[in-house]
């Protein structure tokens, strides 16, 4: 498995040197969406919390990044850090209100508060420019004194690759840590964990905030790539995407969401070329996966290998 990963990473790093422009864009999107889904997997796959409002933090990251670039002309790195801070604060507020009751409440509240962020993005025109979203921001420099031609898609792709790999390493470390073990225990039986002397609600909140932070990072990478931060990035249908990617790839498996994101983006690119009703297929796919293929592609493969 590690050897396979090294080969995969080498191929990804070399991609701009042999693949046409179109695939650089596709690969950039896969990496960003993969990170978005991986952050969702931390709460869903590892902690057992089903959020239908994860796009709130992705969108917050995108808006914060775009606004910082537009009004303060900061470096990309500063904008990304600012976006992560904004998403973290938002996740702390929404999480505090949402983790207090059971999972049915949690699913409901995350969807509702996610749509609150959408309503704000729509209605606070003076800040967010309403339904048109924020455009016209420019990428000047990356920061750290690095001389990078960020407007070159291949260069931006490499930036995304490095950031996503680093962020994934941190996320991976968290899932393997003592904290990660507590999350896995909580996903199965929160009450038993409480009787071991752990405030499980606080753990769920912290996991939720970390997930919000990384979703914000993904959003911050997405805004400059997409050249716009718009309300549809916050809409609940955007929240459906990491849900589907994670289940498609395999919930609770670290690389599952990245697998799922790759399949999702490739399918979306292909299918939207002949129908605009991609969301219908998304819904049908989600229903079929939940009914018949709950462990996802990677999960099923790994189950086969480990003989489970």
């Amino acid at each position: 498995m590690p050897a396979l990963l090294v080969v995969l990473l080498a191929a990804l790093a070399a991609l701009p040197y042999f693949a046409p422009y179109f695939y650089i864009f596709v690969a950039t999107e896969i990496l960003i969406m993969g990170l978005f889904a991986a952050s969702f997997n931390l709460i869903f796959g590892y902690t057992g919390m089903l959020s239908f409002g994860h796009a709130a933090f992705f969108g917050m990251g995108a808006y914060a990044c775009a606004l910082l670039l537009l009004h303060f002309e900061v470096s990309l790195l500063t904008a990304i850090l600012g976006a992560m801070l904004a998403s973290t604060l938002l996740a702390a507020a929404i999480g505090f209100l949402s983790v207090r009751l059971g999972e049915v409440y949690f699913a409901m509240l995350t969807l509702a508060f996610g749509m609150m962020v959408y309503a704000v993005a729509h209605q606070w025109r003076s800040l967010t420019n309403g339904s048109d979203g924020i455009t016209g921001f420019r990428l000047t420099e990356f920061g750290l004194g690095l001389d990078l031609q960020l407007f070159n898609p291949a260069v931006y792709y490499h930036v995304v690759l490095v950031v996503v790999v680093l962020a994934s390493l941190v996320l991976y470390l968290i899932t393997r840590s003592s904290f990660g073990l507590m999350l896995r225990a909580i996903s199965e039986n929160p009450e038993r964990v409480a009787f071991c002397g752990v405030n499980e609600r606080r753990h769920r909140l912290v996991a939720f905030i970390i997930a919000g932070l990384f979703a914000g990072l993904a959003g911050a990478l997405f805004a400059p790539f997409n050249r716009v931060a718009s309300p549809d990035m916050v809409h609940w249908t955007q929240s459906a995407e990491p849900v589907l990617m994670t289940i498609l790839g395999g919930a609770g498996y670290f690389l599952g969401p990245f697998f799922g994101a790759a399949m999702f983006v490739l399918l979306e690119t292909w299918i939207t070329s002949f129908t605009e009703h991609w969301m219908l297929l998304l819904g049908i796919a989600l229903a079929l996966l939940v009914m018949f293929f709950r462990r996802g592609v990677l999960g099923t493969l790994l189950d086969k290998v480990t003989g489970r």
Partner: protein
Amino acid sequence: MSEPILSVKDLRKSFGGVRAVDGVSLDVQPRETVALIGPNGAGKTTFYNMISGRMKPTAGSVRFQDQDITGLPPHTISRLGISRSFQINNVFTELSARQNVEVALTALHRKHFSMFRPASRNRAIQEEADAVLERLGLRHLSDTRAGVLSYGDKRLLEIAIVLATRPSLVLLDEPTAGMTPEETRHVTQLIKSLAASGDYTFLITEHDMHVVFDLADRILVMHRGRRLAEGTPEEIKADPEVRQAYLGEEEVA
């Protein structure tokens, strides 16, 4: 007599109009093993739930080591030194046996917010977990996923989790339920040796009267939410009211 480690005063719990526990008091001395018995629906589990923080009492108080713990959340009560097992199997089936114990140990050593160090690198906790499993005769199953353990081994693992939190008061809710006679003997011996070690105080509910009379220093009999009788096993065996209300239904040795 020394100060009681657990002192329950006039505990009550109503659900709607039904009084599940109706004014029960109980003092437990340190290093004592007290059995709580009574027919189904007598209110034993509700009583447990209030002591361990799973339910808030309608009235009454619970003191533990001279501290009022009435209505505190479960994680606080657990940290103060009360640990409980559950009637149904309540282990983490997706984790290995060792990881099950690790969850409790991680909490005990306050490592549960350690995020950037792999759990498997924490040698001290790993070794301690194996030691706890060893004590229960589960060492050879350390790496087995708890979900595939036999029923009896799952119940033992449950006790391992309880002990790993290093409690001074252990609440066991029907520890031998569903076990084979062999496994029951094993668990009874185990509880006896733990009690003899002088580190633990036990409060046990149990349906198997052999186990109860074998283990208990003192017995509290509950019936319809109230205290029916309290005394040594001999006194309880001889109590005519108890015989009529409860023991008459079962074979008594």
